[in-house]
Every structure is written in C-alpha cells, then in structure tokens.
Assembly symmetry: C2
C-alpha cells in the first residue's frame, strides 16, 4: 500500500461539471480554507454552507476574503486536513509559494498547493448585511490533488479540538471574554491527549498568537 | 465526477503488508469502530492509540469487545464517517447483516460493511488493569472498500460534535453527573447548526437513549 489516492493515473484531476457532494460539500457547514485574490493570494478558514439546496458563504466585512470576493466574484474552497494550516491561515498570511494557480473563466485562480481537493466557485447574488457579505456559490471547476493523499483522514478528537479552539480564539480576539479562554484550554488538553504532532504544533502556535 | 474512490479497478482491495499510516492510523488516538466476535459479531467505537511508535488499545472490562478480545486475540478497526453509526454502535447491538467477513489467520473475521476502510489487528501482550485490558496491536490485514467512498470526509464541526456528545453520553450514563448533560446540550446545538441530516438523526437518537 503506497498511499491513499482518490483518482488513478493523474497527478491532479480536474472537472468542470462539478458534483459538489462527491467533494464532500454537503448539507450543513463544511470547514474548508477559502483562497481568493488574483493579484495577491490570500487564504482563511471559512465554512461553506449548504442549506435547503442552496450553497452560500458568509464573509465578515473588512477581511481580505471579503474584499477579494466583493471585487472578483470568485473563491476557491480548499479541502485540507492539516490542523496547523487551519491555525496559520486564521492568524497569518500564507507565503505566496504556498499557492498554485488554476485557469478558471479566463482567470488564473489561486488554490492551496497542499489541499487534498479544491472547488472554485463563482459568487452571485451578493448581499451585504451590517457585518457581513452573503454570496451564493456556483461551482465551476474542481479537482483532486492525488499527491496530497498520503493517508485517510480518520476521525481524531485532537484535530477536531484544534478547529474548535481556533473558532474560539477568533472570538476571544474580538471580545476578550474569559469564557473563550476556558474553552480554548479545554480543547488544548483534548488536542494534547488525542492529537498527533501536527495538532500539538497547531495548539502551540495558537497559544503564542493569544499570548498564553 | 462519479465519486471518490481511493483505489481503482477493485471493489475491495486488501493488503497483508499493512502500512498503518496510509490508513490514517497515526500518532494520537484514531476514533474508529472496533468489530470483534467470531461467533456473534459486535461493534463499538474505540480509539486506536499510537504513542511513541507503539500501537495499542484500552478496553473496558465487562464490554463485549473486552470479552471477545480476551478470548480471540484479534480485533478489526473500521474507519467510518457516519455519525449515526457511531451513536448506534455505542448504545445498541448492530444487526448481523451489517457485518461482512474477511479471512484472516484461518479465521473468518467480522468487519463493518459500510466501513470506508478496515484493518484487522492481532492483539498481543494483553495486560489487565483494575478496569481495563490493554493490548498491543499488530496489523495483519487491511483493505479499502471503494463502494463506500461516495464523498470526501470534509471537516464538519457538526460531525465532530456528535463524537464529543457520544463520549460525554457514556460518561453521563456511568456517573449521572450534570456537567456531562451541559456538554451534551452544547454539542447538540453545534450538531444542529453545522451538521447535516445524519448528524441530526444521530443526536436525536442520542437524546432518546438518555431520555432527554
């Protein structure tokens, strides 16, 4: 067994007739890393929401993702199983070298090199609320990146704990409320108990960011 | 894109030289469903622990899994992404029709039909503690089940919440402590907000089990 490869014979397979469900983007909120920005690529963890057959995203005003989507009307959803990348892309700019580019609608669109799969969406029917932009999403191109499938993403409570801690860390930064710190400490202990090396590195970085 | 298939050309691929890491069983605790029982198959969610290069499992005394492993010295770790199956196998006996059988060491060993992948382990160096049996695990045979790969397991906080709620539900049943109910209610709300139909069904069943 040399590794886990979702498609044979191609290093990266692409499809323009996108069946979202085969990419695991399903009813509920899929936690992916969104890449945007034709001139200066950017990445941030953002959920793709599917509800009642509608696929959409909610982007907070003032973020790079919000600015890029407002202007360019496209985003890529990168499916990633690396807890450290979730934390890094939440709090830091990724390096330009971490992006690859795919041709979509005459554009050269940034995706993450280490994504296991990616879907580029066109954003339509943009609606601004007080704090956010809500955009409907139409998938226009997608691909698996076989080279990144080294193992199955087996459920791991440590990995899950990093996701939760990251969500609560952004809320803590916004509000400074102590209850978020308590939750973060709870999830740090879970990541340490159930996670591997990458979960521990991710939590260490998150603690550094928060000055803990 | 017709679906997500980890191996081509075979409905089920099997391997006897098992590279555990390609099955996603890695440092930390991998949450899988363990099947055991040559005469009467049984399944229960149990973590496979990898720590300092050692792979082992901790089984609580008095459970079916504990009895079967004590006697038969084998177990199968099934990689499953169905939240309802985690809850069902925690609190109920699965149907005999939900198991398939693979030949291992001259035995016909039960695995879960709906597993995305499975690894059969030999259990060695069994050690009893007051409440549990600890056994080292040597992988002897493994396989992917391509027919069960319909989509990528994209991180979903609702799915993760069902796992957490299930862990806390077993603790609540053991201790009756109110703090576990609070955690379960927190995760029910997360499963409802971020999960899909299967997460909601799983939490509904868990609430029924607890009489909530």
């Amino acid at each position: 067994m040399t590794g886990f490869s979702p498609e044979c014979g191609k290093n990266r397979s692409e499809s323009s007739a996108v069946d979202l469900s085969s990419f695991g983007i399903r009813e509920g909120i899929s936690e992916t890393i969104i890449s945007t920005g034709l001139e200066s690529p950017n990445a941030a963890p953002i959920g793709i929401i599917v509800k009642g057959g509608r696929t959409f995203v909610r982007l907070f005003k003032g973020t790079h993702t919000w600015a890029n989507v407002s202007k360019e009307k496209h985003l890529a959803s990168n499916i990633v199983y690396d807890p450290l990348l979730f934390v890094r892309s939440t709090f830091f700019d990724l390096e330009p070298s971490e992006f690859d580019y795919v041709p979509v609608h005459g554009l050269s669109f940034p995706i993450l090199k280490t994504a296991s799969a990616w879907v580029v969406f066109e954003c339509t029917d943009l609606k601004n609320t007080d704090h956010a932009l809500v955009a409907d999403l139409t998938p226009i191109k997608a691909g698996f990146n076989e080279a990144n499938w080294k193992s199955l993403p087996v459920p791991n409570r440590g990995f899950n704990a990093v996701l939760e801690a990251t969500v609560h860390a952004t809320r803590y930064q916004l509000t400074g409320e102590e209850k978020y710190l308590e939750l973060i400490r709870h999830y740090e202990s879970l990541a340490s108990k159930c996670g591997g090396e990458n979960e521990k590195k991710a939590m260490k970085l998150l603690y550094e960011v928060l000055g803990l």
